[in-house]
Symmetry: C2
Amino acid sequence: MPNTRLDAIDRRILAALQRDARLSNVQLAEEVNLSPSPCLRRVRQLEAAGLIRGYHAELDRGGVGLGLTVFVGVKVERHHEAEANAFREAVVALPEVVSAHLVSGESDFLLQVVVADLAAYERFLTGTLLRLPGVSDIRSNFAIQTVKEHGPLPLTRPGGEGR
Amino acid sequence: MPNTRLDAIDRRILAALQRDARLSNVQLAEEVNLSPSPCLRRVRQLEAAGLIRGYHAELDRGGVGLGLTVFVGVKVERHHEAEANAFREAVVALPEVVSAHLVSGESDFLLQVVVADLAAYERFLTGTLLRLPGVSDIRSNFAIQTVKEHGPLPLTRPGGEGR
DNA sequence: ATAAAATTGGCAGAAAATGCCAATGAAGAA
DNA sequence: TTCTTCATTGGCATTTTCTGCCAATTTTAT
C-alpha cells in the first residue's frame, strides 16, 4: 500500500497538523468532522506512509541566541561527483547548517546557516566552510529581516498533479 | 519577566521538542531528568515567553504533490519604502511562498517557493510574482536535490553570546 | 441489485495531562 | 557559618485523552 490517494479529510488533517502539531486527537477529529477513532487511524496511516515526516517545535531564533541567519551560495569544483558527495556529507553534519539544497543557477549549493552573530559567522566561514572539500567560491547573503518563515505547504492544490 | 535565562534543562527541553514535538510530557520529563509536573511547567513557560513559537508537522513535499522547490531572488525598485512594504505584504499572503527574507547582496528578497511542477511555477511566476508591486528583477534557482532540510537549531552554543 | 470490502462511531481499559500542596534545595542576609 | 526567604521540585487526585476492538454503516465492484 504505497500511495493511497489523499482525500479531502486527509488533506484537512495535514493542514491542521502543519498549523499545530500538538492538537489533541480529539480536537483534530472535531476540526475535520470525524470521530476520534478514525481520525487517529488516519494520522497513523499518514505517518506510516511517510507523508508526515515528523513533528517539530519552531523556536524563536533570537530568543535562543541565534540572531544571524545567512543564505550561503557555494560553488563546488566542477561537480566532480566525488567532490560534490564529500561536500554533501560534510554539510549535513554541520549543526549551523539548517538546510542545504543542490540548485540550478549561479551557485551549486544553497545553504541556510544559523549562528549567534557576525563574529560567529566569521569563525564558521573561515574555520569550517572554506575548509570543506571542493569548495571553490562562496557568496554570503545576510538575512536583514524575516518576512515569512515556516509557511505551511499549500495543500489545496492550486492546479497540481493527479485526479 | 521577559527574559529569564535558559538553563541546561530548558535547552534540553527545546532540543527534544525540536526533534519530536509530539513527545508526551511524561517521555519528555524522563528525557530531561525531571518529573512530569515541573517539566510541563517549564514547557508552558517557554511557550509563554515566546521561545517556542509553535509546533508543526513536517510533510513530504513530493508526497503531497508539491514536487518543485524554487529559491527566488527578487529585486524591488530601489527600496522605495512604499514599494518594499507593498511587496512584503503581498508575499506573506501567497500560499506558494513558504519563506521570505530581506537579504543583503544581489537580490533584495529571497523567497522559497513550493509548487507542483514546472508548469505550476510558470503560472505562478508570470501570473503572480511578476505582477507584484515594485518588482524589477527575478532570478529563479531550482532545487535539484534536497541535501538537508528542517535541521534543528544548534542550541549548545558553539561560541555564541551570553554567559 | 447484490455482495464484498473499507470505513466509521462508540465503548472500555490504560495512559497522560493538569492543578494543588508539602517538601526540598538554592540564594542571600546577618 | 547559620538563618531566612524564595523558587523549584515531586507526588497525588481528578479530568481528559489515547487506543484497541466490534458492530453498524457506507462505498465500491460485479
